[in-house]
């Protein structure tokens, strides 16, 4: 089971892009084996502080370990998958 936590900044463009890119990626490669928690830093700044979030959007992959952190719109799918360790898994 893949667990993701995505920090977004309200409905800014790049945050929305990141959310849709993540959803598309999960749908394509991790159908049925993922959980996504979306946190709005403006609504919950304490959690953003606790995680040390400076830039939005930031994606955290919490499980399976190790924890990975990706900043940005997640537009570069190949690179995102490589970072998340999905490239071998998906093959």
């Amino acid at each position: 089971m893949y667990k993701f936590r995505l920090f977004v900044a309200a409905d800014t463009l790049n945050s929305a892009q990141a959310a849709s890119n993540l959803n598309a990626l999960c749908k394509a490669h991790l159908a049925g084996r993922h959980e996504i928690e979306v946190i709005d830093v403006f609504k919950d700044p304490k959690r953003a502080l606790a995680e040390g979030i400076r830039m939005t959007p930031t994606l955290l992959k919490l499980a399976p370990g190790p924890v990975r952190r990706i900043v940005g719109t997640l537009a570069d799918v190949a690179r995102v998958m490589q970072t998340l360790g999905l490239d071998a898994d998906a093959a």
């Binding site: 939005t56 990706i70 970072t83």
Partner: protein
């Protein structure tokens, strides 16, 4: 043209930095509730400037602050700051917050992003500590991660709007030379220069092997400011910007009070001594007793109970004291009692500016009222002369505004100096009193001559005097001018004794003459008496003669009548 620093409107629009000299340049500090850009190359002091702004705000002005570190770890910045004596741990609990925002080296980035995450967190923290000030250190590190200039611009403006909405006084520090210059923006992040309300440029250069730091205010919306480059030093207590004069303070406290030069006759020549808070320059070739004369001043000051500091570039403090003891200037007891501080400035290295800052700091710490710098020309040895001149000017301005009586000695180049009569620092034009010492070589002797070249506001003697050093102290002797020649030393002594002998001879001769005259007078008086007596005798004789003649006549008359009667031949005559 005085800058109104105390007016409430101005004060409330500015956020004082508490940085020495900087608030004077900007007329009160950074624009309150606005943004300031501090740009400079590596090692210019951008981080220290920002941090000091926060520390002073939190400590002295009741304005808590947040430091956002994009480059260095905040732990290390704090450790570095400890060396300036800022008590960060005390402030950190409630008034000063450090936030590490360094992009992690293993950070993976894909596509565009923004800084909302940080701002959301900052908003919370700023609220918690009621922050009024914020510093974004090395913002370029974060901006560099953004994919294009448009994104950078967007994020900077986002940050700017966020700050404006909260009326936080903000400093961005930025490396100059960071970012890629483009056609639209020849300067890296040039748009930021236009966005901010105040822009400072820090530079660090090496002139003749000596480091020089400069600060320049490039722009300041809605305020006047000193437009020139101001040298600054990062000293023991942080930033220290050199300023020429503190506006409106210099003219206020002129005094008529005199302080002794330590040499009685010199005081007389100056009409009572140096003025309090005056700058006195003593020039001369090596060995003309410049140090001794300044030592005499220091001793006199200590005797009056005034705290005094001597800065010696030539020798160690204990050497100075020993050497001065040999001419009857005993300073050791004052050193022991803490009244006098002797500083060996050979330990002070760095630019002329750094020297000045060190001297200032020491003098302030000692609470000195009198200051001796021996020789001040040593300052110009490090760094360019242009700079050193500015330093001398600031030294004088500072001592005047702090009402410190300053005695500087200055070495003159033997050939050049004698001809030109000026010191390399051009301090002579600024000094209030200028005493020149030189040698006169004559008849196999080298003697010290002293003259007052100028002394503002005092009538002063035009005489060249001979300066005599003995184990009982410093004295000044009149010199002899004979046939257009000045006599000093043994020749003066010879001349003096010759005159003394001549005078004695003349005195004796005079006495002798007086006695002779007395005798002659007495003799004449005796003669006069004799003549007078004779005169009286003659008069008596004359009277006697007259009376006898008269009586004889009467007798004769009576005789003839009687005879006629007796004869009875003629008839008695009838009338």
């Amino acid at each position: 043209m005085k800058l109104e620093r105390s007016s409430p409107v101005t004060a409330s629009r500015k956020s004082p930095s508490g940085i020495l000299g900087f608030d004077e340049i900007t007329g009160g500090g950074l624009p309150r509730g606005r943004t300031t850009l501090v740009a400079g190359g590596p090692g210019c002091g951008k981080t220290i400037f920002g941090l000091q702004f926060l520390v002073n705000g939190a400590r002295d002005f009741g304005e808590p602050g947040i430091f956002v570190a994009f480059e260095e770890e905040s732990r290390r910045i704090a450790a570095n700051a400890e060396s300036f004596g800022w008590r960060l741990p005390q402030l950190r609990r409630s008034k000063l917050l450090f936030i590490d925002a360094q992009p992690k080296p293993d950070l993976m980035q894909s596509g565009d992003f923004d800084l909302c995450g940080m701002l959301a967190g900052l908003a919370l923290q700023a609220k918690q500590i009621k922050a009024r000030r914020i510093v974004f250190d090395a913002l370029d590190m974060m901006l560099a991660l953004l994919p294009d200039l448009a994104a950078r611009r967007r994020e900077v403006y986002r940050l700017h709007d966020w700050l404006m909405a909260r009326e936080l006084t903000c400093i961005f520090t930025l490396k100059s030379g960071a970012g890629e210059p483009t056609f639209t923006s020849p300067q890296p992040y040039g748009f930021m220069q236009f966005m901010v309300d105040c822009s400072l440029i820090l530079s660090h250069s090496v002139v003749l092997g000596v480091s020089q730091r400069n600060l320049r205010v490039q722009k300041y919306r809605g305020s006047s400011f000193d437009e020139n480059e101001s040298p600054f030093v990062i000293g023991d207590s942080g930033f220290n910007v050199a300023i020429s004069r503190i506006l409106g303070q210099l003219d206020a406290k002129v005094t008529q009070e005199r302080v002794s030069s330590g040499v009685k006759r010199l005081d007389t020549m100056l009409g009572g001594g140096y003025y309090r808070a005056a700058t006195v320059l003593i020039t001369g070739v090596p060995g003309t007793a410049k140090t001794t004369l300044s030592g005499a001043f220091a001793e006199a000051a200590c005797r009056r109970g005034e705290r005094t500091m001597m800065v010696s570039f030539d020798s160690d403090g204990s050497e100075v004291i020993r050497n001065l003891t040999s001419v009857g200037i005993k300073l050791e007891r004052f050193v022991n009692s803490g009244l006098l501080r002797v500083v060996s400035a050979r330990t002070i290295t760095g630019s002329a500016e750094a020297c000045l800052v060190r001297i200032k700091a020491l003098a302030v710490a000692h609470r000195a009222r009198c200051l001796v710098i021996d020789p001040v020309s040593a300052i110009s040895n490090s760094g360019s002369e242009v700079r050193a001149h500015g330093v001398a000017e600031r030294l004088i301005d500072w001592s005047k505004s702090d009402r410190i009586t300053l005695v500087c000695t200055s070495l003159l180049n033997e050939i050049e100096g004698q001809a030109v009569g000026d010191s390399s620092l051009h301090i002579s034009t600024l000094a209030d009193t200028w005493i020149h010492l030189n040698y006169l070589v004559q008849a196999g002797e080298r003697n010290r001559g002293m003259s007052i070249i100028k002394s503002r506001g005092t009538a002063h003697s035009n005489q060249v005097r001979e300066l005599i050093l003995s184990n009982t102290g410093v004295t000044l002797a009149d010199i002899f001018t004979a046939g257009g020649e000045v006599l000093m030393g043994t020749m003066r002594w010879e001349k003096e004794s010759a005159e003394r002998v001549a005078k004695e001879v003349a005195e004796v001769a005079g006495k002798l003459k007086l006695v002779t005259l007395d005798a002659q007078q007495a003799e004449l008086q005796v003669q006069l008496k004799a003549v007078q007596t004779e005169l009286v005798a003659k008069q008596v004789e004359k009277t006697l003669l007259a009376s006898t003649t008269a009586s004889r006549k009467a007798v004769t008359l009576r005789g003839s009548v009687r005879m006629r009667e007796l004869r009875g031949g003629d008839a008695p005559r009838r009338k």
